[in-house]
């Protein structure tokens, strides 16, 4: 008999499954659940993008592309990065098309982080950075960002987290789940701390198109001095409503990209060809569609933030991504208690802030990837819930 407890890699065994899963499993068994749980757009992929995917299949474009991606797509990404974020990357040796932003994050961390190396991870943030770091043998060093700082990383927090083992700083902005963004001056301050180090910034900008402050997203690499120390990760999932197509990309200094491409080459070979053809169309002709979606998200955002604040759950203005992150401390409950009770008594699903790190305690994540009517109904039920517990 095989003793499976001895088979599995200890590092893997010790990784906890995502905390969000539990709520999903409960919600899945219930009828009439109003969910504010999912982290993907409700819009369908714009038609011309789908059409481009279909056309590529009809023309029989069903083979591998080159490891780093189809060259026409790389060229379009290069143009897009310059047009949107004022960043110049060469399709030759400074970029890679990946299977979603997720693969880019994994490959980038693995390319840089070895045994015992430290990765600074601001939290609350997306759930993958910590396990991916551990899988690479690295040590996560958490910065607990604070609501009073609008969940930004401050230079003081960064300085305190740096040791001589620090290899990577993750910058997950615009931030899932807090909706926080980093503005130019915030990044400039971090640069002052980073400038005499060899620390590489992994900037996860998957929500870059979804900012609502009126100013466009500032990509950290575009701040003076940052380009040489930054790997920029972005993708098609959120901006173009293409989650299921699994397509992202990484851009950065060629010395690092060369190594990331090696990992990608052996682990993945190449990103899905159909998706790559579709993505070319996304970058070429969908600015209007993206703008319309952003406008729609913005209306929902105002609706949900206003709603939470009216209910007495203090909700700071999320300036990016598509989540509201209201504080539920006034209820006296923990985040998990709040979410569980709300789900059982009113059948509204939100995600406890603690799923995104301990510093998420006292908050819940409510996605506004839903129609205004859906959001109104959820808020109505949450209002009832609050009345009943008071």
């Amino acid at each position: 008999m095989i003793d499976y407890s001895k088979v599995i890699n200890t590092t893997v065994k010790e990784i906890k499954p995502s905390g969000i899963r539990k709520f999903f499993d409960i919600a899945a068994t219930m009828e009439d659940v109003i969910s504010l749980g999912v982290g993907e757009p409700d819009f369908q992929t714009p038609w011309q993008i789908r059409k481009a995917g279909i056309n590529s299949l009809e023309r029989g474009r069903t083979k591998y592309t080159s490891n780093k991606g189809y060259n026409k797509l790389l060229e379009e990404i290069s143009k897009y990065m310059e047009r949107k974020f004022n960043l110049k990357y060469s399709p030759e040796d400074e970029m890679l098309v990946t299977v979603g932003g997720s693969e880019a994050i994994d490959a980038c961390i693995r390319a840089i982080v070895g045994s015992g190396d430290e990765v600074i991870i601001p939290q609350p943030s997306y759930v993958c950075y910590e396990p991916v770091t551990r899988l690479a043998g690295g040590v996560p060093v958490i910065i607990n960002t604070k609501a009073e700082n609008d969940f930004k990383v401050t230079p003081e927090e960064l300085r305190a987290a740096i040791t001589n083992r620090t290899k990577v700083l993750i910058l997950p902005y615009p931030c899932n789940p807090t909706g926080a963004i980093m503005e130019r001056e915030d990044i400039e301050k971090l640069y002052e701390v980073l400038k005499d180090t060899n620390i590489i910034v992994l900037s996860d900008e998957i929500y870059a198109e979804l900012t609502f402050s009126g100013k466009p997203h500032v990509s950290p690499a575009s701040v003076e001095g940052m380009r040489e120390r930054t790997v920029t990760i972005n993708g098609f999932s959120k901006a173009f409503s293409m989650t299921g197509w699994r397509l992202g990309f990484a851009c950065g200094p060629k010395e690092i990209l060369k190594q990331i491409i090696k990992i990608h080459q052996f682990a993945i070979m190449c990103a899905p060809t159909t998706s790559q053809y579709a993505a070319i169309e996304a970058l070429r002709s969908c600015d209007d569609e993206v703008e319309a979606m952003v406008k729609e998200y913005n209306m929902r955002r105002r609706m949900i933030v206003n709603g939470f604040n009216k209910l007495g759950l203090v909700c700071r203005e999320p300036k990016g991504a598509f989540y509201a992150f209201p504080c539920i401390k006034s209820t006296g409950m923990t985040s998990e208690e709040f979410c569980e009770k709300l789900l059982y008594s009113k059948r509204v699903a939100v995600v406890p802030g603690t799923a995104f790190g301990d510093s998420g305690e006292g908050f819940v994540r409510a996605s506004y990837c839903y129609s205004v009517e859906h959001i109104k109904e959820a808020l109505r039920r949450i209002g009832e819930f609050l009345d009943e517990i008071n």
């Binding site: 899963r21 749980g37 993907e40 209306m299 929902r300 105002r302 609706m303």
Partner: protein, 160 residues
């Protein structure tokens, strides 16, 4: 701003002024004022429910009728259009480019109702030279609202 308000009300006329103000990051009083003006200026012509009458008791039939007319000197199509639109059975009247002149949407309880209405009322109008009646077999979408059951939200396989 007015355009944004119209777009929202065209989507859902039940949005309150406060809700519209929140969505557009504006003052509720300003929204109220703007809506009053839109009503006064005739940009907003009415508010009504989008009803799926077929669900009620099945007694609902509609038809699109293509009408050719001889326009009157000095009056063009106005006179006949006005006469046609005065019937309560008539839901909409459009002057068309192309092979016929007026497109008229008519509703009734039975096919017979509509057939009689076309034969007795529309076809007998002096300037009407011909009518072609197309009965609606199924309504999929009306006024931007989907009348067939929607695809379920298939998200939520993955919560991230």
């Amino acid at each position: 701003m007015k355009y944004e308000i119209l777009k929202l009300l065209a989507r859902n006329a039940k949005y309150t002024e406060e809700e519209i103000a929140t969505m557009l990051d504006a003052d509720a009083d300003d929204i109220k004022k703007a809506i009053k003006e839109l009503e006064k200026d005739g940009l907003i012509r009415g508010y009504k429910a989008v009803v799926d009458w077929e669900k009620l008791d099945g007694a609902y039939v509609s038809a699109i009728i293509e009408i050719n007319v001889v326009p009157k000197a000095g009056l063009g199509f106005e006179e006949v259009a006005k006469k046609i639109m005065s019937y309560p059975q008539v839901e909409s009247v459009y002057l068309m480019s192309g092979v016929y002149d007026l497109n008229v949407v008519v509703k009734g309880k039975t096919l017979q109702d509509i057939a009689w209405f076309v034969a007795k009322e529309l076809a007998t109008i002096d300037s009407v030279t011909s009518t072609t009646t197309h009965f609606v077999m199924r309504r999929y979408k009306e006024l931007d609202v989907e009348l067939v059951s929607k695809d379920e939200d298939d998200r939520g396989q993955l919560w991230i």
